[in-house]
Every structure is written in structure tokens, then in C-alpha cells.
Symmetry: C2
Subunit: 324 residues, 2 copies
């Protein structure tokens, strides 16, 4: 059976030319460019909670980095370096070396796209658990925070929401999607596209930003609480995929859209004077950017239905200790 050193050497040691020292010592050594701050974030993915035990290792490798890149996007930071810690069940290592090889391929395919270097990590035996820490760079004082929203700001979202949650609901047997809709929605769940380039371009435009990982309502609420403001959003302005639109009469679909989580789109606020710039940015980046509401002084989050009436909403987002 592979030793932990074999695993690291064989699957996870790649050149890290922009690090001073990469994998193989007690710590990696890095140095940020002058005038830059470092953004640091970490996400832990647990088997049976964030992914199914039989999840495809390539998609898992991809997603374990993607969710961290999404945090960099939300800060406007350029992701640079990552560490990867893995707890691996003994049978997996003993019987299925391919799993690690393909997991690494998924991880590094995305890492290469974003020029992220793996500089360290840990490998141990245990119930499958994947913990990635990402370090990015952002111009000093310019990071997009949750706390910068101001009354009068437009509220924007990138892409469209709810497809990942809709795909998951189908997999769990809670809704029955048509085959073409499954096919359309599954990539949002398995291989979300982190909005790194968009986040970088929002520096100097957006007043605040967050990535939508727990659902729009919960994540927008973080912006509101951190900024001590309120918001009104209009349900029918939220950008949906063609698939999502077909199921919007189903209460579960509404829940997926507003509170499903796993979207990894950006929600940001920006002054109304930047609407034209944001329109240009949307075309340049080929990413839909949609205004869904407005920040107000009065605290709280109101969602209006198509008739302009406040909606009564139960679920507010994903909570790892409350959700079933």
C-alpha cells in the first residue's frame, strides 16, 4: 500500500515556481508582492455531507478547490497558493490508487486554469475529509468586503441561481427533473465556475460582495448585517436558467433559488452610477449580471413577489447543523 509520502510525492507534488519553497519542508515559504495584502480562506468538505460517498474523484478534486476560489472571487483577490489536507479511508488507498490520481487531476486542472500553486498539505488516514486553505493577493485596502454596502446601492447577482440545489434535490429524490434539465443543472452542482476574473474586475466598482454558497437570502443577509443596512429584492428579477423556470411552480424550486446554496455566484452591491460599467463588464466577461434589488437604510431583508407583495419565506439558507 502507498505510504503517505508516496501519496504526496506521486500525486500532489507539482512545481510551485512562484513560491520561495513549495511542498517538502516543515512549511512552505511565500512572499507577497509590494502593496498587496493576502486574503486567506479555508473550506472543509466532508463525505456524506458535502458530497456523496461515490462522488466522482475528478469532480471532487475540482470542487474542493473551486469553493475556495469562490471565496477569493468574493474578496476581489487573485488566488495564488493553496494547501490541501486529506483524510483518506484505508480501503480507498489500499484498493483504488486510481481514485487519488483522478482526484489530483481534477484539483490540478482547476489550479492550472487559475495559476494556483499547491504549496503544502497533510495526508492521513480517516473518514474522507478534504480541507483546502487558499491564499490570494489583493491590492492593499481594495478588497471587497461584506461590510461596504450603502443605502441606494443596487444589489447584483452573477450568473443564475438555484440550479445546483435543484440538481441535488433531484438526486435526493425530492423533485423529479426531466433528463435534459438534469443534464443542464448537474454541472452547477459538480463543477461550479468560480467568478475569480469577475471579482478582480469589481474592485473599484462594488461597495460590497459575497459568494453565494449558502443561498442568496442567507448570504445577502451577511452583507446586510455586516453593513448594518436592509434590502428589498424582487423575486422575479432573480436570474433563472431555462430549467429552473420550468419548475418555479414547485415550492421546492423557489427554495432552491433563494436558499439552496452551492451556487458559487457572486452577490455584490454597487452605486447606481456604475450601472453602465457593470453592463460593459457583463458583456466583456460573458457572465449575466442582474440587478435584483436595492439596499435601504431600514434593516431587514424583504423579498417581493411578482405582484410587489412581500413573500413569507421559511428557509433562509443552508446550515450544517440544522439542515437535513
Amino acid at each position: 500500500m502507498l505510504s503517505e509520502f508516496d501519496i504526496i510525492r506521486r500525486y500532489f507534488t507539482r512545481p510551485a515556481p512562484s513560491a520561495i519553497l513549495g511542498i517538502g519542508d516543515d512549511a512552505a515559504l511565500i512572499q507577497s508582492a509590494p502593496g498587496m495584502e493576502l486574503a486567506v480562506s479555508t473550506d472543509m468538505l466532508v463525505c456524506g455531507r458535502h458530497f456523496f460517498p461515490d462522488a466522482e474523484p475528478r469532480k471532487l478534486g475540482y470542487k474542493s478547490l473551486a469553493v475556495n476560489l469562490s471565496d477569493m472571487a468574493a474578496m476581489g483577490a487573485r488566488p495564488r497558493w493553496a494547501t490541501l489536507s486529506l483524510a483518506l479511508p484505508e480501503p480507498l488507498v489500499r484498493t483504488d490508487e486510481k481514485w487519488l490520481e483522478i482526484f489530483a487531476q481534477g484539483f490540478f486542472s482547476l489550479a492550472q486554469t487559475y495559476e494556483v500553486e499547491l504549496i503544502g498539505g497533510d495526508t492521513t488516514q480517516g473518514p474522507l475529509n478534504i480541507c483546502v486553505t487558499i491564499i490570494g493577493e489583493v491590492e492593499a485596502g481594495k478588497a471587497l468586503r461584506r461590510s461596504g454596502a450603502r443605502p441606494g446601492d443596487d444589489i447584483w447577482i452573477s450568473g443564475h441561481l438555484g440550479d445546483a440545489a435543484l440538481a441535488l434535490a433531484h438526486v435526493l429524490g425530492r423533485i423529479n427533473l426531466q433528463p435534459e434539465d438534469i443534464e443542464a443543472c448537474l454541472p452547477a452542482l459538480d463543477t461550479p465556475a468560480p467568478r475569480v476574473a469577475l471579482g478582480r474586475r469589481l474592485i473599484g466598482i462594488a461597495h460590497s460582495a459575497i459568494d453565494i454558497s449558502d443561498g442568496l437570502l442567507a448570504d445577502l443577509d451577511h452583507i446586510l448585517k455586516c453593513s448594518r443596512v436592509g434590502a428589498i429584492i424582487r423575486m422575479d428579477e432573480i436570474n433563472c436558467s431555462a430549467s429552473m423556470k420550468r419548475y418555479l411552480s414547485h415550492p421546492l424550486a423557489i427554495n432552491c433559488l433563494l436558499a439552496g446554496g452551492d451556487d458559487y455566484e457572486l452577490c455584490f452591491t454597487a452605486p447606481q452610477s456604475t450601472r453602465q460599467r457593470i453592463g460593459i463588464l457583463s458583456r466583456e466577461q460573458n457572465i449575466p449580471l442582474t440587478r435584483v434589488g436595492i439596499i435601504g437604510e431600514k434593516e431587514g431583508l424583504v423579498v417581493l413577489d411578482a405582484d410587489g407583495n412581500p413573500m413569507q419565506l421559511e428557509a433562509r439558507g443552508y446550515d450544517h447543523f440544522r439542515a437535513e
Copy 2:
């Protein structure tokens, strides 16, 4: 039951005055001082492998940070910031809020001692797993690496080795220690003292360093391989506690001493011209520093017994996928 946000707010949100932005956004923001490099390391502790399911949460909180501080010590870096990711079993969160409170006390007690700030993390439900990433600062170009050992260097170790492994062997019923020896050895297992101040002082003195986490033979071997040199060490020069000395006729004790792991002492090499400085350092820091051998050009690691004969050694250190 506590939500993940409750857990973070209640137990893990403390001031982080030296970070630009601490817990509560998509990422933390930090900036290193001019002329400094950042050292980054991560360790994952898994229930049932690194600690027992009934481990005292205070000691667990302490140790999960201590093992990372030890990596900073081995680089000569000053630890500054940490992230903490926790997978927590649902029953633990539901029934035993005290566990989290006491775990956090253990973690922060050590963090405060070393002025380490917790700047981020993740909390999720799952089999108990603790992953800490630590970021430290070290003067540019000065970090202690594994690769700097040169023929003629003395090989030094700090403190004494094997007590942690001896205590563990007792707990597992593989050896029967006297009560006073259990009491003497258990702190090495539960609450090891990371050699951070020593590591900082070794900059400019040591040619290479590593922390002994997998056992002296395995960790010294990393230095040898990275430096492309060999070594001869003398078994009877290795510093033992009074307890260890009482059991040295037991083959298991020899194994604990040389290959037990969990020591979190430093092994470093330094030119013979620095012996006097190292002696002064030992007295200043009140830490035994013992010369145990010498680096040679011929690759390989030879351990000599008390009669000067090479020992035949089986176990070479701890491997998470091979060890039972």
C-alpha cells in the same frame, strides 16, 4: 442546537488586531512586514488516529495548534495567524456544548502564549476532524530548511525524545509504566511544548532543522535526503527522560525513542564552530540541547550502539497508512 454561525461567534471569534480583517468575511486579510517571508503549514488531526474519541477537549484544542506551532519552530518562523476547520459529530454539538467551549479554551490558551491570531476557518458536521493552517513570518532568505545540512555539521536535538510514544504505548496496553512514569510522560503526549523561541534563535546558527513528529530516525532522514548527505548518530547520546531510562531494556522503549513520533522537539544541524553559542542558547532558553551525531558525505543513516556497533533497526518512523 447551535448553528454553525453560533459556534463560530460564541467560541471562536476573538480579536485579531494584527490582521487587517479577521473572522467574518469570505476571507481574512493579512499583510506581512517588509523584508519578511511567510511560512505556511497545515496539519489535520483525525479522531481515532491522532487522538482517542474520549480525548479531553482542552488538551485537544491545545495540541491541534501545538503541532502546527512546531512546524513554525522548525522553520525558525514566528507564528502569526491560524485558520481552524472543524468537522464535528452532530451528537457532540447537540449534547455537549461544553466540549466546544473547553476545546476553544485549550486552543486559545496556547494561541495567546504565542500571540497567534485565529483569522478564519470552517465548521461543519462530520466525523471529528481538526485541520489547522498556520502562517508565520521569517526574515527573507533566513528560514531553516531541511536541505541545508553539510558534512561535518553536528546533529542536535532539543529536549528529550520518546516520552510521548512511551505514554501512548502504556495507554494502548503495550507496556506497563509505573504511575510516576505515566505522570511524567503523559504531558509530552497531551500538551507538547512547541520550540518556537528556540527555532527563532537558531536562525543564523543552524544549517538545517526539522521538527520531530514522526520519530527521530524518520525526520532526520528527511534532512539527510533533502541535503543529500548521510549521518552517524550514537544511541547513548540521545537525551532521555529519567522515566525513559528506566525502560530502555524494553525493545519497545528503544522504538519509542528512535521512531515513536509525537515528540515535537527540534532536530537541527549546525557547524561545529557554533557549539559554544548553542551551549549558551540552551542555558538561556532552559532547554536541553544535545549533540547526538554528525553529518557525513556518505548517504544513509547509521545508529551506533553503546559499544560503537551499528544497530539493526526495523521501524523507521510513523506512517499514517502503514502503522497499526
